[in-house]
């Protein structure tokens, strides 16, 4: 059986990246929040808001670029609530996070309902940038080097974040904010400011991830379309423990499993999606059972910081 044809492999890899990019973006975002001590459960809502605003603007302006910017803005808007309510006012991060997810699910669905009623207009295919030379490599070329600009942006972001965390004071400040906020405060750095920046960045990245799903992945907006991707992002961030490269690895693995079904169907093999979708989670659980290592989360994760309450 000619399973591993070039077409099959290209479809598999391209699909893996298409499914993995939103996970990568949202995982990188969540990672930054968690590093700074904020457990951002509202991230699913931020994604959905990004998916909606991204789609809407892309559809209205017929510009994918503006769509992505709007998507990032939409995610940031939801994150603003998180920043004000949880970081500034110190409300329970889990209660607010879930509320924001619920609210964003409802709000985007209603807005979509009133704008499009029951129609689901489709966006044209997105602009792609072919990277010279590399694009001509079989399989890898079309799957990886002939992609939407956002894909390149996301991959570059991995390196940027790795640099930020390891090589700048911003990275140190993030880590201290999650580990021992009082230490950061007594060094004269405003803990709330650091956490606010982290949460807003998270929102922007989650929004971008959502916009990618709507604009590139599906070409349409459907209510609840992010379908747990934000939560997978949380899992990725927790497993990666502050290392952006690990988020990339995890996102690729999850993306590959998600795309495997489609690729197999292309090859004429019918395996229920559900079986394939179980693979990445089953793999991670198996690793945890075998290794039994302790998941190292920042000490102050989930707790609000108030000056003077040492």
């Amino acid at each position: 059986m000619a399973l591993f044809t070039e077409a099959f492999l290209t479809a598999l890899l391209a699909g893996a990246i298409s499914a993995g990019i939103p996970l990568l973006l949202v995982g990188l975002g969540e990672q930054m929040s968690e590093k700074s001590g904020v457990l951002n459960i509202g991230i699913e809502g931020m994604m959905l808001a990004g998916a909606y605003t991204g789609f809407l603007i892309a559809w209205k302006t017929e510009s994918m670029g503006l769509g992505f910017i709007a998507g990032a803005g939409g995610g940031m808007f939801v994150a603003l609530f998180m920043a004000v309510l949880c970081v500034r006012m110190g409300l329970n991060q889990i209660v607010i996070g879930i509320s924001l997810t619920l609210g964003a699910e409802g709000a985007t669905a209603i807005l979509h309902h009133f704008q499009f009623s029951r129609t689901y207009p489709r966006l044209p295919a997105t602009l792609k940038w072919d990277i010279p030379v590399l694009h001509d490599i079989p399989v890898i070329g079309p799957a990886l080097f002939g992609r939407e600009p956002v894909v390149y942006f996301a991959l570059i972001l991995v390196a940027v974040f790795a640099y930020l965390y390891r090589r700048t004071h911003f990275g140190l400040a993030l880590q201290a904010a999650g580990d021992k906020p009082a230490a950061l405060d007594s060094s004269g750095v405003d803990v709330l400011k650091v956490r606010t920046v982290a949460v807003l960045t998270t929102g922007a990245l989650a929004g971008l991830g959502g916009a990618f799903m709507a604009i590139v992945g599906a070409g349409i907006f459907v209510p609840f379309m992010t379908h747990g991707n934000g939560f997978i992002g949380i899992v990725l961030a927790m497993l990666a423990r502050g290392r952006p490269l690990w988020v990339l690895g995890g996102a690729t693995l999850f993306g590959a499993c998600l795309s495997l079904t489609t690729a197999l169907q292309v090859a004429g093999i019918d395996i229920p999606t559900d079986v394939i979708q179980m693979l990445p989670f089953a793999a991670v659980m198996a690793v945890l059972i075998v290794l039994g290592s302790k998941a190292n989360l920042p000490v102050s994760l989930g707790t609000a910081y108030a000056r003077g309450e040492r």
């Binding site: 409802g106 209603i110 039994g292």
Partner: protein, 365 residues
Amino acid sequence: MTSETAIAPESGGKERKVRLNMHDDRLHFLIITIGPVLATLVIASLILLAMGVSPLDYYGYIFQRGVMSPSGVQATLTRMGPLLLIAASLIVCFRAGIWNLGGDAQFILGAVFVAAAGPELVDALPAWLMLLLCLAIGAAAGAVWSLVPAFLRAYQGINEIITTMMMTFLGGSLANVLVKLVFLDPETTVPQTRTLAVPDRLPRLFDTTVSSGVLLGLAAVLIVHFTMNRTAFGLRLRIVGANAKAAVHAGLPVATLTVIVFSISAGLAGLAGAVSVLGQNGNVRADWNPAYTLTIVPLVFLARFNGFATIAFVFLFSVLSIGSESAARRLGVPNYFTLVTMATLLILMAVAEMIDQRRSKGKAV
């Protein structure tokens, strides 16, 4: 030095006024419950106006549908059954300091196995025994699904938020696989399990359509509330939740208790799935996953894990969701509007609680 306890900032820094007088108590109640509800109504009304719907009509309709009309009340009460069981499941684990966020998978697997077993057992066993056995199967399925996170947390110290969430995704897919491949009803075209006939389901209350599942739910919440607050077992769990090191120091078997908590919590979630099938649906369709847990988590939090407050919140939520389902058909307000209302209410309640705490703490001058 008799004044040791009076001078707080040195030792604790967070001294609160111990007693509030009667007037304060009433004000307190008002701020923390009525205030957010009213504010939510105002905000939601503004949104409704923006959508071109009269808020009076909408809420009048929901009230009439959810509370006044017999069929609405019956639907509300029936819906409360599984929701209350999930609430009970969450109260147990949260009070023991364990984040079981895997309720959705425990629920759906409980439902799937009950839906598979029910039609098989219905001819072989007397009705009461069949129902009892099905409830047990649901609870067991949920509990089994929590074992891996439970053992990882108890003996390896692995954060259960990650593991239960992964088990949720895994369980959701597994449920679909089971429905589509294993427990498929060959006589239907849509992938779903065989259907339990209405007379074989949980008995209805009196002459209504209300499933007795709601009684199970009420009982579960009240038993959990009582157990956690008034028994030695509940106290042990609360100690593990409040200070695990103190639990070790006091000689409590923390690992064993952790596994027990997981089993009870997940068992109740599985039971909720069973009640859903036995009381309402009679079967499980592929891709059916109501994902109740996430909506119940904040409710339980805002009730501060108090059983009675939880029942009230779950009732309110059921009225809203049942009422808005018909309002969607009648007034053209999408069902999703409930989500927005819930989110607003939850946020405002959290804000109110914070204001209340600052007030009683009397913000530092």
